[in-house]
């Protein structure tokens, strides 16, 4: 259990305020491609997304500037060279792989949790065990610890925030949380009868579709790949379970519980738009959307929306997919790995998450902050017990691609579930043989 420390964020801001004349200094300390004094002799390259330190939201940006300033002042003689990571996950990870392979990768980088398996299997991540205590490592949620460690127990990256999918419903039409697939369909049909679109979910061709749908397979105990990373989803029991999950979605569309347009949805924002426009009855969305709904909907409308755990085929079979971002170190300089670990813990894992309302990956952090007092966080924490992360096999992105095709074909009526599944499995096997 980590001991409760005084809020580091408050300390940082206080320190900055005391050094008021040097507030100007903090302006010079942080630019678009640098954190720290320009003449510092030691340089570490850090690749990050534009969501925090370089956010367009002033409050977010200032908070992270304060955190980074404290960090860099605690490491005199160092400066960070910051590089932008774009949102194109596929191209971004290919570029980083190529650059790391050529010895030109960043020293420390943000890696999306879905891409972590790729870098693990490429063998380019440096262990960070030396810079975290055993308590910190033990405190991580089990699915997090499994995903970031290799067989020898090396912590190859730190997964600093997670996300999950939940079922949202308008309680004005659906007062009780559906517990099974059948109840979801019935409830959605009730909303359709009341003039809504029914239940909405990601069905278009992007990662979100596979990611939001896989919990239906995982809830039954299905396995996509085996321990060696070989695809096994079309073998034995797994095939039955996969077909069951496909037929669940197919039933939703065929019965009219879900509109045909789900095959066009490639963005979570669509659900918020539908909720705000009053056309959605239920939807399967991300935990972060609760806050978005709060700020977009009128208070009396928002009061009607509640979230619950994703249902499975029976009330006891539950799962949800866990996403989020990690930070990993590629450099073989121990000092840089230490700095990387420090960035993780002192900036992102605790204070950064608390400010942004993101879900930490260690149980104790939830108790530290008021930000996590809302009832929705209890629901998230309960659902995370059944959290499953995407397999860290190099074949996963191709599996996801094939599943997207499969679901699109089935939901648009272009193929039967069996035929689509067989085609997907054949394509995955062919790709796996080439890897």
């Amino acid at each position: 259990m980590t001991p409760i420390r005084p809020n580091r964020l408050a300390l940082s801001v206080a320190a900055l305020m005391l050094a008021a004349p040097t507030a100007v200094l903090s302006q010079d300390l942080i630019t678009r491609d640098r954190v720290g004094p320009e003449d510092a002799p030691n340089v570490m390259t850090f690749r990050l997304t534009a969501y925090d330190l370089y956010s367009t939201d002033p409050a977010t940006r200032e908070t992270f500037e304060a955190l980074f300033t404290t960090f860099i002042l605690a490491n005199p003689g160092w400066r960070l060279e910051t590089q932008l990571a774009t949102d194109n996950i596929g191209q971004e990870q290919a570029r980083m792989l190529e650059q790391v392979g050529a010895g030109r990768g960043p020293d420390c980088a943000m890696i999306d949790s879905s891409a972590l398996g790729l870098f693990k299997s490429a063998g380019v991540l440096q262990p960070m065990n030396a810079y975290f205590t055993q308590d910190q490592i033990d405190d991580m949620f089990p699915f997090v610890r499994d995903a970031v460690s290799d067989a020898d127990g090396n912590v190859l990256a730190w997964w600093w925030f997670t996300s999950l999918q939940v079922l949202y419903r308008d309680t004005a039409l659906v007062p009780d949380a559906p517990q099974t697939w059948a109840e979801v369909q019935d409830a959605a049909l009730v909303t359709v009868a009341a003039g809504r679109e029914g239940i909405l979910f990601n069905g278009g061709r992007w990662e979100g579709t596979t990611f939001d749908w896989l919990p239906n397979f995982w809830a039954q105990g299905g396995e996509i790949v085996d321990a060696e990373g070989r695809p096994v989803f079309n073998q034995g029991d797994n095939r039955e379970k996969l077909l069951a999950a496909i037929n669940y979605y197919k039933g939703l569309v065929d019965s009219g519980a879900a509109p045909a347009r789900v095959t066009t949805i490639v963005n979570y924002d669509e659900f918020s738009a539908a909720a705000a426009a009053g056309t959605a009855g239920m939807f399967i969305g991300g935990n972060w959307q609760y806050g978005q709904l709060r700020s977009t909907l009128a208070p009396e409308d928002f009061a009607n929306w509640e979230l619950s755990e994703l249902p499975g085929p029976t009330p006891d079979q539950r799962a949800t997919g866990t996403g989020g971002w990690t930070i990993g170190a590629f450099s073989d300089d121990p000092e840089k790995v230490r700095l990387c670990a420090q960035i993780v813990w002192d900036i992102y894992a605790i204070d950064g998450n608390a400010f942004q309302g993101l879900l930490p990956t260690s149980a104790a952090i939830y108790d530290q902050f008021d930000a996590y007092d809302g009832p929705e966080y209890d629901a998230f924490a309960a659902a995370l017990v059944n959290g499953v992360s995407r397999p860290d096999a190099a074949i996963y992105p191709e599996i996801s691609n094939q599943f997207q095709i499969m679901l699109g074909q089935v939901l648009s009526g272009a193929a039967t579930p069996e035929a689509a599944l067989d085609a997907a499995a054949a394509a995955v096997d062919a790709a796996f043989a080439r890897l």
């Binding site: 678009r32 690749r47 367009t56 932008l84 924002d269 977009t296």
Partner: protein, 276 residues
Amino acid sequence: MTGRAGDIATYIAAIALTALFVMPLAWLVSLALRTPQEVYLGAARFIPQQPTLENFRLILSDRAFGLYLFNSVKLCALGALGAVVIATPAAYAVSRFRFRGSNTLMIGILAVQMISPLVVIIPLYRYMDRLGLLENHGSVIALYMAIGVPLSLWLIKTGFDTIPLALEEAAAIDGCGRFEILLRITLPLAAPALASAFILNMIMGWSQFLIPFILLTRDGQLPISVAIFNFAGSTSASTTQVLAAACLVAVVPALLSFLALQRLIVRAIMAGAVKG
């Protein structure tokens, strides 16, 4: 249809086409004027209930944004200029000289554009790495030139083809060498074709993503096509309204610089004719 009736018909067609082309842009403007609360309404509302210019203010006050635009203009203009300058002699040769293999050569050069950029960038990265030419604008410009040459070659050749040989033959009789003929007579007459090739190159360079993406990592060197992702927000916290404003703001200097440069090019080439 001639005269008045023709004019009215022309205006009607033009207005209809303008309306069709403007409609998607109008939605982009709608997004750019929204507050973070209203942006989640998506297509549900066209005119925001609480329009704001805050997103534009954010973009315009971001010093880095101006730098990204400048980078784009620099890379695209130099790349386009280089492509046109290098392609012109070759285009002249194909247009004026009959020699064996001219068609094969033209098609061979065109094959450069037929290779899928998605696949070429990986070997390109490794090659540039070995030459030590990563992280610099020069190699990006050289690549823009290389990609622009086939397109420019064909377009400029077509432009040269429309200029009567008689004019050149007259000058030849007067004792002008081939190269002088090209410079003093053919080029000025083909100025519009050259200017079009320039503009097309420039615009194609403007939207180039993969090449600067793989060759440049320092934020200060990025053109707007890559750096625009600074404003995109994340899956869980999209800043679509800022991105929309950024896209709109990025268009204005692009259009201005294209049109200004095009006029400059034409004038420069014409000036060459006068001096002769």
